[in-house]
Assembly symmetry: C2
Homo-oligomer: 334 residues x 2
């Protein structure tokens, strides 16, 4: 029952992790095609004990491909998804091109994996913040209806790709050596700095593109179209794990203990909530692992009714926020 | 009308900035005493064009001192404040020892400087997050009553002193060189990492000491004892400027334009809110300046009534968050 797989954008931060996830999770890979730009074609990437030659996406024939995992920009994703689905492949797309289309499921398998039972041919992989956020919110939905979410993100460089991760390291190295550094990938200095996510601001709402995506996608994944939600997205100088501080209001009182219990049971979630040791979710522990870490679970003191909880979440942006979730979708379909 | 000044803790991150603020703001300094631990006594610090010899706090006689600026830990501050006030000095204390005492004013001059007209002999300087936060909240109080605040902080190393700033730099340098680093000042790795503020967690509420201070002190400074407020305090790997994402609910609708106008008029505040250039408050621009930067001023979309605004604030932790505010208090008293 092996599947022929194409990874599109195999040299990027997410594509690289997709290859690794297929390997570590023992996905039943038949033929494997690693696709990239023409400039990278002919170079090699590692998969298990073999070397794979990178092929150019341009002109690639998707015939015979069962699953295409796309980790490329929106424009390329749209073109590529059309070609791949036409050739009969099932497409799992990590871009934002299709996420809000009514007929395209936006899936986090632990949350709304049931949508895959209809065997859709095109599945959207969510925004990285939304994916990590819903992992903490969905288990709480069984306790009470979520009516409002206030959130602030602490986002890693990996969300802007490998060049941004390198820019963070290079600019920090320069700073520590007392040297000047001109940012090329991001619009602001990144060394020992944080800044509002640099997607364009919607002049109507004042929210940036990232924030709008997170809010819309969270509503869609949780199937709460009227959810009142607000987020501020900030890029902080860490490499590959996002954090989210959240205040979650329910339609009735929920105790921290009940919430902790529900989260402890939830697949893909690890509760890290140790007040005595002052140990809570943080990037150095969330990076490189599959689970999303949840902690600081407490009653929000600004709501005397007990209907609001505060919590802090941390998850690997490249894994649950992108590559792992895509491969988990492929697994559910396989 | 010059004043004899003692800086207690003159070698620390805040004490050093106090000396610099007295200098740059041309405070009318008469005799200047720079006090530190016995270990530092005899060393020199620079003030204007002269060298000052550090004196030991232990055994120091505060007689003849007009103003004592304390930048030391709570225990030392309590002992020192008793000695200095007994000797006739006015004490401005940066520790948390006296902040919540009913008979001690907790002052941010731009906000509640009128409390200084009664010429108190002991004045508390607020927690750094609270000081920066109220600079953005107070100008909005004139527009409508603030009923609720949701906040998440992005806190700099300087809040834990010079050793933490050095640990951030040293551990980052080690990380980039691929070397191991054992944290000594903070309980968690700091290089490319963030973590929940390491003050102890109150087992009753689940909030840590820093969060509790910020919530209580914000209520006291704004004179809103019933303000519903919740904050999550996170240390991020930046050196000396804090950020705060805030959602502020009022008792009636307030437009972003009105709020922006009020903030633009407020002394000590600079509005940095340029969606077209994607330029908002960030540490590289807030560090080393006196103003608190405010931006991302928008209607909170989770509240359809228009009564809630979101905004992002950034201020120098060592200046408005500590030393500058203390010196501004001294100026108002002088």
């Amino acid at each position: 029952m092996s599947k022929n797989v194409a990874i599109v954008g195999a040299t990027g931060a997410v594509g690289t992790e997709m290859l690794r996830c297929l390997e570590t999770r023992n996905f039943p890979v038949g033929k494997l095609h690693a696709l990239a730009s023409s400039a990278s074609a002919g170079k090699m990437v590692q998969f298990k004990d073999r070397e794979i030659t990178l092929e150019a996406l341009e002109g690639f024939d998707f015939a015979g491909i069962d699953v295409a995992l796309l980790a490329v920009d929106t424009d390329i994703a749209m073109d590529c998804a059309a070609r791949a689905t036409k050739a009969g492949a099932t497409v799992i797309d990590n871009s934002s091109a299709f996420r809000m289309k009514a007929n395209v499921p936006l899936v986090v398998p632990e949350v709304n994996g049931a949508l895959l039972e209809e065997r859709p041919r095109l599945i959207a992989n969510p925004n990285c913040v939304a994916a990590i956020m819903v992992m903490a919110l969905a288990p709480l939905q069984n306790l009470a209806r979520i009516s409002r979410v206030h959130a602030a993100s602490y986002q890693a460089a990996s969300g802007a790709g490998l060049p941004a991760m390198r820019e963070l390291e290079d600019s920090t190295r320069a700073y520590l050596a007392g040297q000047k550094f001109e940012p090329k990938v991001l619009p602001h200095p990144y060394a020992f700095n944080f800044f509002s996510h640099n997607t364009p601001i919607d002049p109507e709402t004042g929210y940036n593109g990232e924030e709008t995506k997170v809010m819309r996608e969270t509503r869609k994944i949780l199937d709460l179209p009227d959810l009142r939600i607000s987020i501020t997205c900030i890029r902080v100088p860490v490499l590959r794990a996002h954090g989210i501080a959240m205040s979650v209001e329910f339609d009735r009182a929920v105790t921290p203990e009940t919430a902790r219990g529900a989260l402890a049971q939830a697949p893909g979630v690890r509760v890290v909530d140790d007040p005595a040791a002052n140990r809570f979710p943080m990037p150095v522990e969330a990076s490189g692992i599959e689970e999303v870490l949840v902690g600081r679970i407490r009653r929000d003191v600004s709501d005397a009714s007990g209907k609001t909880l505060s919590l802090f979440v941390c998850g690997d942006q490249l894994l649950k926020g992108a590559a792992l979730n895509a491969v988990q979708i492929a697994e559910r379909l396989a």
